[in-house]
């Protein structure tokens, strides 16, 4: 009886589990990427004499390259080699077809009711499938690789209930930014977020992903949406695994936020905190050196489709650079087939290899001192995309595409 988080852990342990308990759980899948794996390997090796030096289950241990792929520096290449050596020793395949959080569900590893730990803070994204996904550091992940287990303090839950429908030109990202504005950057610290309501139920899997992805921007341990027929339909053909369709039962929420989505307008998160959210109309005088469409928040096919519809037959402003990176090869191929990639290239955008791209400021569109960027990323932290004096604004794919055309932050509703 309880919140979705309590239901998942109760199902896992076969007994009722409540918020506040500290538990040790067998995890379903473990993931780390090219930046976090090297530290995990060092910790893993320190446990080798005790745990036998092999990962607990090869089919549930996943190494993914996405942060700096292909390697941009000698140091990055060295870290990749270290991880390749580890993969060879362990008999693991390194997945290199996109951003870890996009690849995990595409491979069918993310199913309702699963407990998934990843050495990346945006592992909370898996909650879009009704799974309990959470980010951990490399040492916790090393322990999970070695033992198949992780410890959790079962979190209290904050419910965000969204009613109504989004107006044309307003997207899941705008609603997610509004949620961060309301909850605050640490409003959900140590807690799970559960997203419910008509808006969420009508969302596609991609839109749900955008929402759960942003849970960590409120400090959330996880961001969950109960699985339904939309979830089941998406998973069909991707996994043969049986999974429970868990629902909440008389959940006790610590706090409830009610948001009427029908009144929302396009939103922008201004630097340097994600809750610094204003309507796009307030920042249309911000001149942009670069725009970036992509990431685990907004690099999926529907995001690319919106941008392509705005960019079709138009040119990116000559004083603004546009970078577009599909979240995975699967998405990239589909975008190629549908002509989006051609539209982007004809508009003057640079289209990059699936991965994190400039979101972590190491390659493919690093910012110079004082430059300003508008991106579909989830974070606008100081220095994240390069020089610490550069400024990062966050918005929806539509707002990013419209702004690419004018060189200023622009309301996408003028271009629909």
């Amino acid at each position: 009886m309880g919140t979705l988080t309590e239901e998942i852990f109760s199902h896992k342990l076969g007994r009722p589990v409540h918020a506040g308990e500290t538990i040790v759980v067998e995890v379903d899948h473990v993931m780390s990427h090219d930046t976090t794996t090297p530290l995990a390997i060092e910790a893993f090796q320190k446990l080798a004499d005790q745990t036998g030096g092999k990962v607990f289950d090869r089919s549930r241990s996943h190494l993914i390259f996405d942060h700096i792929i292909p390697a941009a520096t000698i140091q990055a290449a060295g870290l990749h080699r270290q991880t390749r050596n580890f993969a060879r020793e362990q008999g693991l395949e390194i997945l290199q077809q996109g951003i870890c959080h996009q690849v995990m569900p595409e491979m069918g590893f993310v199913t309702p009711g699963a407990v998934i730990v990843g050495a990346d803070s945006h592992s909370c994204s898996y909650g879009a499938f009704g799974a309990f996904g959470t980010g951990m550091g490399s040492t916790d992940i090393a322990v999970a690789y070695a033992t198949g287990r992780a410890w959790f303090r079962v979190p209290e839950t904050i419910n965000v209930h969204l009613t109504g429908q989004l107006q044309p030109g307003v997207y899941a990202k705008d609603a997610a930014l509004e949620v961060v504005r309301r909850v605050g950057v640490d409003g959900a610290n140590y807690r799970a977020l559960e997203f419910t309501g008509e808006l969420i139920e009508n969302f596609s899997m991609s839109e749900r992903f955008t929402f759960c992805n942003m849970a960590i921007e409120m400090g959330g341990k996880a961001g969950l949406i109960a699985a339904d027929e939309t979830t089941r339909a998406w998973l069909t053909g991707r996994t043969e695994a049986k999974y429970p369709m868990l629902r909440v039962h008389e959940p006790r929420y610590e706090r409830v936020f009610e948001i009427d989505a029908s009144t929302l307008t396009p939103q922008i998160a201004c630097p340097p905190d994600v809750n610094n959210v204003v309507p796009v109309a307030e920042v249309t005088s911000v001149k942009l050196d670069q725009v970036f469409l992509g990431t685990c928040t907004n690099g999926r096919l529907d995001d690319l489709a919106i941008a392509a519809s705005i960019l079709k037959g138009r040119r990116v402003h000559p004083e603004t650079r546009m970078v577009i990176i599909p979240a995975s090869r699967e998405i990239q191929l589909e975008a190629l087939r549908l002509g989006y990639i051609q539209t982007f290239i004809e508009a003057g955008a640079s289209v990059g290899t699936p991965g994190c791209g400039p979101c972590i400021g190491r390659h493919f569109g690093v910012l110079a001192p004082g430059e300003r960027a508008l991106t579909t990323m989830n974070r606008n932290f100081t220095g994240r995309m390069g020089d610490p004096t550069a400024e990062i604004y966050l918005g929806s794919p539509a707002t990013v595409a419209a702004s690419a055309l004018t060189g200023y932050i622009t309301d996408p509703r003028d271009y629909l």
Partner: protein, 162 residues
């Protein structure tokens, strides 16, 4: 006697160590860039045993363990904050960097004050003002990890994670 290095609210992991420096696992290398964007004098001047103090939500953002590793590499003995972001807190505890929550001590202390911390008792004494504070008690499970000196050491003692 140790010096307090005091920071504000929402110090995120990109501030603690920018992503472009996370290209090594060597703590001494990471330490050189700790807080380089906001407090460039910190890394060259910090002394082993110094104490870091911060406001709310310390360590928010990425799961990069490079953040607590760089602080540990600087020789910081303990971080005292009004609150910690969850992943950072786990990472710090896991690698043996003590993290205490004590609202009163943070509010009543200034950057540069001298401080003494008794980790076993959670007792914090600001030697510059003479005030003593008690940190919030640790979750019993976390306390076992801290006592062992990190999660790997904890597993070594227990035989597995339980």
């Amino acid at each position: 006697m140790s010096r307090i290095w005091k920071l504000g609210d929402n110090i995120n992991t990109d501030i603690i160590i920018p992503g472009r420096y996370n290209v090594t696992t060597d703590r001494a290398q990471l330490a050189k860039h700790c807080l380089c964007e906001v407090l460039p004098e910190f890394a060259p001047q910090v002394q082993p045993g110094d104490v870091m103090m911060a406001g709310h939500n310390f360590g928010c953002g990425s799961s990069r363990e490079h953040a607590p590793a760089s602080i540990l590499g600087c020789g910081v003995k303990v971080i005292i904050a009004r609150s910690f972001a969850r992943i950072f807190y786990r990472n710090a505890v896991n690698i043996g960097l003590p993290a205490l929550v004590c609202e009163e001590a943070v509010l009543a202390s200034n950057d540069g004050d001298n401080i003494e911390v008794n980790l076993e008792r959670g007792e914090i004494t600001n030697l510059s003002t003479g005030q003593t504070f008690q940190s919030e008690p640790l979750d019993p499970f976390v306390a076992r990890i801290v006592q062992a000196g990190g999660i790997l050491e904890h597993i070594r003692l227990e035989g597995t994670l339980r």
